[in-house]
Structure formats: C-alpha cells, structure tokens
Assembly symmetry: C2
Homo-oligomer: 659 residues x 2
C-alpha cells in the first residue's frame, strides 16, 4: 500500500505518474520535528537499501548522503553526492517499508552517520511529498513504487551491443580506424560514441566540418558495418554570434535568467554558455527538436552530458577569485592563505552558490534554480525523448544521461558517470545497480575499464567479465589516459572472447530487461531480496542476482585468481573460455572458494533454471533467435521475451514464448 503525505507547497517534480490522494493520517515510521527532519530509529540489524546512484555498499547504513546533482568525478568513499538524486529507500528489518522523498532541491540522508542507531532525513525546505510504501517484502515494495513512477525506458535492441568510446577521438578517420581494428581483432561492436570532439567549438547540434566533413556518410558507412554512432549533447549552449541555437534561445527567452532578467552566463567546455530552461515546456520542446539536426544525418542514439548542470565557473566568481588571488599572492602566503587560494580555485567548479543565481520560467513563475536543481538533467533527457518520439515515431532512440532524478527513468537510461580505472570501481558500480533498478533505472552501466586514470589489461579483463552483464556495455576513457580499446592489449583474443560471450547472452539479457521494464521489476537484485530468510545472504554485497536465472560474482581485485562465493541455494557454476568452451558444475548451497583465471568468465545459474544462449556474432543485427540453445539445468524451460527490437513497445505487450 502506498500512502502520500504532503508538506508545504511541493514543486511538481513529475516523478510520479499515478494520482494518489494525500493522507491526513499521522506519518508512519518517522518522527518529524520543527527542523523539518524525518527521523527513524534503527533496530540493530536493519538494512537500508536504495538511494540509486550513491556510493558505498548495497546497505547504505553508516554514511551521510546529500541529494544534489553534482558533476563529481571523484566517486570516492567520502563522496556525498554524485550526478543523480534518487530519494527512494527501503528499510528492511524489524519493520520493512519503502519511503520516497519527492523533493526537487537539496535533501540530506543521514543514515546512521551522526548517530549509528538513527536515520535523519532533512530537506532544505519543508515543501515536499513523502510516499510510504508497505508490502509483503522488498520486491513487492519495489514493484509498487515502480508502478507509481511509471514504466522504465526501453532502448533499441542494438543498444545491448558492445560500444566503444573515448574522449579524444580526433576525427572521422580515427572513428573508421576504431571500427576497423575491432573487426580485425574479431571483437564484436555495435556502437562508437562521439564525445565532445565532434562538435564545432563544443556547440550543441553542430559538427566540426574539418574533422568530420561528412558525418552523414560516416554514419551510413558505419551502419553498413552494423555500427551506430552515438554523439554526446551537452546542456550548455555556447554564446556565439551567428550560432542559431544561441540566437533562437535568446530571442525566444528559452534560457535560464539571472535575477535581473538577463540570460544567465556560466562557463563549461565552450567557455561561456547559456543554460536552456528545461523546466519551461516550450524551451524543452524547442531544444528537443534540435536533435533532428543529427537524426537527419542518420544518428539514432544520444548521450546527454553535463546536465546537473555542470558549471566550471561563473564570471562573477572568477573575478572575485582573481582579485583575491592577487591580494593573497602579494604577501607571504602561509598555510591559511595558500589553502584559501587553492580552495577558491578548486571551488569554482560546481560551486553551490552559483545555483542560487539563476531562475526557471515555470509557467510564468520564476523559480530559483537551486530549489529545483535536481530536476534539470531529467528534463533535458525528457526534452530529447519527447521530441524524438514525434520526429522518429516508428523506432526507439537510444538515450542516456549523466544527471537524473526519479522520473528520468521513463525517458532514457543513465550511465554511472565519470568513474576511474580503479579496481574498487568495479565493485562500486555493482553495488549501485540494485538501487538504480529500485529507482526505475534499468538501462545503465559503468564506463568499462574506467574513465579517468590509466587502466591495465587485467583490470580491463575483470571489468569486462562484470559489465558484460549490464544493459549498457561501453568501454569509455578520458583524454590523456592510457588508450583502452581492447585491441591494444597483449591478449586481445581473450578480451574478444568475453565480448563474444556478451553477444551470446544478449537474447537473455534483452528478454530479462523487457520483462523487468514491463512488469516493474528489478534486473539486478541483492541476494536477500530473493532469499529473505537467509541471514548470510543479507551480508553479501559483492554478488548480485541477475534476472530470475543468474547470479554473478565477478573478481574485482588485482592479482586475484579466485574468490569466495556464497550460494543461497544449490546452483550451477558455469565456466566459459569462449562461447563454445563451456563447462558446468553443480555446487551445493553454502560457501565456496572458486578459481577464476584471468581469461575465464564464471557465473552461476540458479537451481532448476536455464537461459537462452546464442552464437558468437559480430553485431546485434546478426543475432539469430532461431539458433538459441538452453544453458542450465536439464529439462528446464525459459520464458523468452522477444520483439523486433526497434518498434516502440506498447504497455502490456509481454510477447513471451517458451524456450
């Protein structure tokens, strides 16, 4: 059951799609106080699930989180905010229930940080809606919540293929080389991503005519090889005379305004920009229609970036900083002054104060950005989604975003942001997945191999062995880091085999994705969600259930060639060196140490289950659903969802066949 409690005058976030009458009852579970906090007293063994993209373990107890969408490339243990705000949690233990704090501004979740036995949730202002969800168990609560927030985004079939990306691909020729090198190395590939490099001076909806003289031809040639180009779109619009997007936005008042009513100026990649007012329906429609500039060149997928929105600096703050620098450096700078100096410079980027300086036009009412900050990225993706649904109604377009709020899951996926080539970031990504699924985000995945810092071959192998299971399976890295396209490594054959196994699994992964989306279910679950009576399962935070048939337990430590795995029931251990070289072994319920050599994929099939498994192919287009074999326990069937992979999927269209 879902109960809705309204406080003050909440901003309509549009996270929720179901109209529920507000309750007049006293709020259950939480104590409220005059500071606007919601306090829950933990029992010793309570577990807190949720918060979507936030860091640390599957159990969120013991840290302080702040929902404030933030371009934070440091997904470190002390991070309190990343790119998305997903204010849905489940408390599981003495009492089990879900709670969604629907609030567009900054809100803090102190989950036993200040006081181990206490959770305190504090929004910046007391204008919000709290939904309390009770049900049979965690899964039931998630299902009810997902019904409340609407169906998750469904990408095209080709989006389940392997994608290659890098910030720094120089020109058309390099893109063609990347495609060719994958082919030469026998590494399947469905997409190549275009980072900011393809644009003319980082202007949205432009293409650099020197570096990419004919993007349409390039897209066509690539598509002939089964490869889709996926360009990036940034939130900020460059201020440049003669640039149509800039000039139209100024003319029609589609940009966010400062207090004086002028278009607000921030600086991002292109230097100074205006920010489209995505909370203004007309501006949203106008910006969304711009995507047709690229779809008309044959583009069928996009990633939306920098839409927290990221602000590298504002003119005023930069001016103040420079004046201060001049003053500080004119004297003997000791520790205090030096830290002030470096702190001011570091504090230019994403400074919270800058978000108080601009406004949205919400149906004629000026709303301060910081009050609705967490909705910006969601409405950028919505802008694209709604427009493309009209521009290309006959097919699905790939969308995913960096920033999000609950509700954005209806318009696109999200990637897990600018991680690093750290071993711990394999585990971090994995621990985010169930919470993202809880919040409706099914199409997600991490930058495989790590975005920032230098990767190594063994890290890449282990990362592949994990992320081949995630819907979004993209290798992405930053300018200045070591190249990490798989063909660069010593044992590229082993990497190719892992990617090929992904393609054999796509029929299964796609089927589970669609079933989860259409049934409001999770793809990735903590073990305890399916084994609620198993005390050990509650402790496991480095294994996940995938769909209804699999359990994954990847390696995420350097120089580890085996790991401990807990089986909450008997399972079939599957060991693959390639799509053809497969061995299986039944393991009993309990603790196991499992050897996992660097070039082997190991996963588990649940008792009396089987999964469809295809053949190795070069592209998703070559996947033949008629040659699927069943892998798993003998004499078990699998409910296969299938469709044409590109037509929009109507609700209640669960096209299932038994395999």
């Amino acid at each position: 059951m879902i109960k809705k409690y309204v406080y003050g005058t909440p901003f309509p976030t549009e996270a929720v799609v179901k109209d529920i009458e507000a309750s007049d009852d006293k709020l259950s579970f939480f104590e409220t106080d005059d500071k606007g906090s919601f306090t829950y007293t933990f029992a010793e063994d309570d577990i807190v699930y949720g918060l979507g993209e936030q860091i640390r373990g599957i159990n969120k107890r013991g840290w302080q989180y702040v929902s404030w969408n933030y371009d934070n490339p440091n997904h470190h243990e002390d991070a309190r905010s990343l790119y998305g705000s997903h204010n849905f949690i489940i408390i599981s233990g003495k009492q089990t229930f879900g709670a969604f704090f629907d609030y567009a501004g900054e809100i803090e979740f102190d989950i036993g940080y200040t006081k181990r036995s206490e959770m305190k949730i504090t929004p910046k202002t007391s204008d919000l809606i709290v939904y309390i969800i009770t049900g049979d168990n965690e899964k039931d609560i998630v299902k009810q919540f997902r019904g409340l927030i609407g169906r998750s985004y469904i990408p095209p079939f080709w989006a389940f293929g392997y994608g290659q990306s890098r910030w720094g691909y120089k020109n058309e020729q390099e893109i063609r080389d990347v495609a060719q090198q994958h082919k030469a190395a026998g590494i399947p590939l469905d997409s190549i991503y275009l980072d900011i490099d393809y644009m003319e001076r980082y202007k949205d909806f432009t293409v650099d005519s020197e570096l990419f003289p004919n993007l349409e031809k390039l897209a066509e040639d690539m598509k002939a090889q089964g490869i889709y180009l996926v360009p990036i779109i940034d939130a900020g619009v460059k201020i440049e005379d003669g640039y149509d997007v800039y000039e139209e936005g100024v003319r029609d008042n589609y940009f966010c305004k400062n207090a004086e009513g002028d278009d607000f100026v921030g600086a991002v990649w292109p230097g100074k920009v205006h920010f489209p007012d995505f909370l203004n329906p007309e501006a949203r429609k106008w910006f969304g229609n711009k995507y047709s500039v690229l779809t008309s060149l044959g583009i069928e997928g996009f990633w939306n970036d920098m839409n927290e929105p990221a602000i590298f600096y504002t003119e005023d703050r930069l001016k103040d900083t420079c004046a201060k620098i001049e003053k500080l450096t004119s004297e003997n700078m000791g520790i205090n002054e030096f830290f002030e100096f470096t702190g001011m410079v570091a504090g230019l980027n994403g400074n919270k104060g800058d978000y108080d300086k601009f406004y949205h036009n919400v149906n004629g009412r000026m709303v301060k950005h910081s009050d609705v900050h967490n909705l910006y990225g969601m409405n950028m993706t919505r802008s694209a989604f709604e427009a493309l649904r009209e521009i290309c109604p006959e097919k699905r377009t790939l969308f995913f975003s960096r920033s999000s709020y609950i509700g954005a899951h209806r318009y696109g996926g999200i990637w897990q942001g600018d991680n690093k080539s750290w071993w711990s970031h394999i585990l971090q990504s994995m621990q985010q997945l169930p919470a993202l699924n809880m919040a409706g985000f099914l199409f997600t995945g991490s930058d495989t191999g790590g975005f920032g810092c230098d990767t190594t071959e063994d890290l890449m192998m282990r990362w592949l062995q994990y992320s081949l299971f995630t819907p979004l399976f993209r290798n992405h890295s930053a300018l200045g880091t070591r190249g990490q396209e798989l063909y660069r490594f010593g044992n590229k054959g082993a990497a190719a085999e892992i990617v090929k196994i992904r393609y054999c699994l796509i029929p299964y992964l796609y089927s589970e994705y669609l079933k989860a989306a259409l049934n409001d279910e999770m793809i990735f679950k903590p073990l305890a969600f399916d084994f609620p009576e198993d005390e050990m399962a509650k402790q496991v935070d480095d294994q996940l259930l995938l769909g209804n048939e699999l359990m994954i337990a990847p390696i995420y430590k350097q120089n580890a060639f085996g790991r401990y795995v807990y089986l909450p029931e008997e399972m079939l251990l599957v060991r693959m060196k390639s799509c053809e070289n497969i061995t299986t072994e039944v393991l009993p319920k309990g603790h196991h140490y499992v050897d996992i050599p660097l070039d082997e994929l190991v996963f588990f099939i649940r008792k009396n289950k089987a999964i469809p498994f295809g053949k190795a192919v070069e592209h998703t287009a070559a996947i033949d659903k008629n040659t699927l074999r069943l892998l798993g326990y003998p004499d078990c069937l699998y409910e296969l969802y299938s469709d044409d992979g590109y037509s929009p999927v109507p609700d209640n269209s669960l096209n299932i066949s038994m395999l």
Copy 2:
C-alpha cells in the same frame, strides 16, 4: 648470497652498512639495455613483493610505481608515488630472488603495467648500485637484505601505548581535556601528539607562548598521568628576522642553495622557508641539536613531517602562475584554458620542477636536489637520531618520520602518511606492512580512523581492531574533519575495550618487535612466506602473519559482520569482547566464514603456539610482566624478550626467557 653491481658513479646513499666487493660478473636475472633499464621477464605465476610503502596489493604485479618521495595525501589506486622510496623487491616464482636498486633519485618500477609479462626498472640516470640477493626462500632473502642495511630502530616501550593526535588541538587546555576525557572514559593512553598548532607561527623549535604558556609544566603534568607529549617537527625553517634557527642557518650556510648560491626559498606552513641541508653533515648536526630545545622541556618523542620535502609553492612558479591566470581569465576561458588554469594552481604543490632548483653541499660538492631527492627525509630523521643519542644517551627517544629511504629504518619509524577515513585504507595499510618490514621499517602504523575526510564509529571500531596490532597505534585526524577521539562515539565502552586489549598484548608485541629487530626478521609476513608450498596462501592478501604466533584477518568493509578467512594450518580462533571475556575455538586448515560482530576482536593463534597476555591497564608504565598469562594452545611455551624498555639496546642482546 648478495652480489653487488655498480653502474656509473652512484651517489653514496648510506642505505647499506656492509661493505661488499662489487662483482664483475654479468648481472643475473635482468637484461639491461642502452636506456639504462633493467628488464625481467615474468613467468605466469610470479609474484612481486616489496616496494615498501607503495600502494595496491601485497603482490605488486600490474602497476607502475615511481620512487619519488612525495607529499601525496591521495593514497588512491592510481597513485604512483607516496612519501617513501623503498626500492627493494623480491620476485617469487619460477626463480626467487631479491633485488635492491640503491639510487637516490627518481626510479620507475613498471611491474607488468606496460606489458603484463615484463618488469622494467628504469632509473633517471645510470648511476646506481644493484644488489641481487639469492637465498633459500623469501624469508632468508629478507634476512640477508636486512643484515645488509643494518638493524632497525628500536623505540621506547611507552611508544607501544595508544596515542591520540589531531591537527587542530587549540591550546594547552584542550590537551589536558583530551587526557582527562580518555581517563573518564576508561581508555588507556600513553601519548598525545602536538601537531603544527603548538608552534609559534609554524617555526621549528618554538612554542606558542599564548596557546602553550608553559609546555614544560604541561609535559610534566602529563607524564605524571603516564602520558608523553610528542611534538611535530617540520623540515622547512621559517624566514623571519630574529628567529634564531633561521639566522644561524643563514649565517653558517646550513640551508640548501639555489643555482646562484643564495638560500633557496620555498613555501610551506609558515609561508616562505629555507630547507636545512640535511646532506651536509654539519648542518645535520646543527639541526639535530635543536631538538634539545624541546627535550629540555621534558619531551621524549618527535615526529618529523613535511620532509620529502613538501613545497607548497615557490615564488617564481607562483609569479608565473599568477601572470598566466591573468592572461587566461581576461578572455573566454573554454575547456583547455580552464584546465590549464586549475592545473597550474593544483600543480604548484610538490611541483617536480622546483626540485631541480636547489642544491646540497655534500662535502664541498654542490649536488642538485633532484638527484638525491629521496634521501632528504631520511637524513632529517638521522639528524635528530644522531643528536639525541648524544643529548640523551641514557634513553631511547621516539622518532618517526613521514618521508624515508631505506637506511632511515635505522634512525626511526615512519607512519603511513596522510591517509583518509576510507574503509579501503584499512586494507591498504595492512598490505603495506610486509613490504615495509622487508625494507627494515618495523615501527610503523596508519593514522587510525583515517586522517583526511570524516570517520564513522563503525569505521573507527574496525580500524582499531586492525591497528591495535601495529607497533605504532595512533588515532590522528585532520583539521576540519569530524572529531574522532574515541570518547566521542556512542559506544565508547566498546572502543575502550579494544584499546585495553592492545595493552594486554603489548608484552607480546614488544617482544616480537625486539626479536624481529635484533634478528633482522619481519613482524608482519604474507601467509606465503611461512607456507611457501600452499598455493592458496599465495592468493591471500587481506590476512597477515604477525610474529611467529599470530594471524590477523580484520574486517575492512562497512556493514560486514563477518568475513572469509583462509587457514593455511589448523589454528585457534580467539574471540575477545574484553581482556577478560575471551573464547577460543580450534579451526581446521582451510576456508572459513567467521562472524565478527562490531564490538568483538577476532584473531588467530597458530597451531601449538601461545602468546603472553597481560592485564588491562591505563598506561604502559602499569604493565606488569609478572602477571602475564599464556593464551593459546595448552602446554606451549613462549620465548619472551624483555628489557627495561628505555635503555638503548646493544646488538646481540637478545634477553629471552621462556614463559
């Protein structure tokens, strides 16, 4: 056997104390090339141990390390350099041998980073000594190496007590409060550290007369409570007229010079400073004698900091940066310019170019600092050690340092630097211990609870349960972070019990320390060092053998209340809630999942071993060696080393009694 190979004209680092004749043979194991690299081709299963303080796992394969002492507060997975340079490695596998690259400048260890199957070691110039050590096994190689580099530093007995530290203790009253609060909460305490706050304007060998009006009295009062004050000493000497240390150093040319022969200026905590020329024996003696300013006030221990040396900025670079900032900010700063701007500011601190700008006077020869950079911290601690040996010959003084080179282990300990309140930093510290021991550094430990970032109560409990086993057991945190003195937490009683258990273990820990120091052995060993035939033991990198009797396997994950433990032989699991509440259980060789509640200490006693275990006391001074009981397997004896705990320990004075 140790063989010595001399290349070019090596700088005499004084890492080695034994005179060995150089070999004319061809270097074994490594291939050399005309770029000055030493290349070793790995067998598939080779393990690389060593590199002292460097990050990542016990097995160093798969990353690129650079020996370049560096004030690096980011002990992240991508770090290549920390504060110390410990160029000793053991390759274990198809061929097992040790190699020490005795080189005072920058040297890179590419351990299968560029190419998984290859290790390439490249010094900046080809002037170095390479020692190749062969022996029966890893332990034998370590013992030979330790004999080569001389006996490890032996601290006073009280240094094994618990220490409380924080950057930011405001004044004498706060120090007294800290002592009192520990007493009130029943938390044993042997030392309180004074960070930079106690000095007058961050000037070495001064005491702020307002904040600490009578340090001698404070030290005396504290000592009456069994608590030693341990002040910090920084490398840089403030430039300030009338300040004796500054004026003497200028007068006698004891500071490093720039190319023009003027005293080199860098900036650190006090702003502009000169750096004592610790490579000049006279300057070293002069600086060392300054410690008597504090010993005359009753101080018996010091920590030497900022001695890489850290340089926040130099005047020239700051001037260039400011000019550049002015230019960049006068135009529309896009991505390239903004990153240049922020990069320049971030690059002021510890900029490598600055270390080319000053010189040491080595017996009349001017030596560029960057050629001998890694020796600076070692010679600062040597300066103190050698002087205090004369000033207070009757007793040991506590010394530890941040920066070090092999050889520094004879003069003092090191702490593991400015870590963070991250769960992963418990494991990181643990993985550094064996490699530090290999390099001679026995007196070491991490900042318990984490220095940077905010700690939590559960993190502190788990950290205590690990670091109570390390010789240096200090709680330390940074200004601006959450206070983490143990009495601040909800369940301070549980924390107090853990610290009390430390005191019960001190007779054992001290005994093992002294035996390791006097016998050139390690205190903390990887499991594989004692179980070389056990393939599983080679994989274990989150458990350590401690001395000859114990194995530790702490928890280092939030919300984990148990963990997997591998026993390479039958062992006795010991479970303690307090010094009196002890249960034991024999566990067979093999894999185990062990429950470890938050308030319980768990460790293991090896088969047919026992350890001495004392009673809970408030200070080390109250430890009564006559009331020791034996804990472990029945009818087993323990070889107890003991002495008065303060007299300097002569060589070959192994004072053992059977217990």
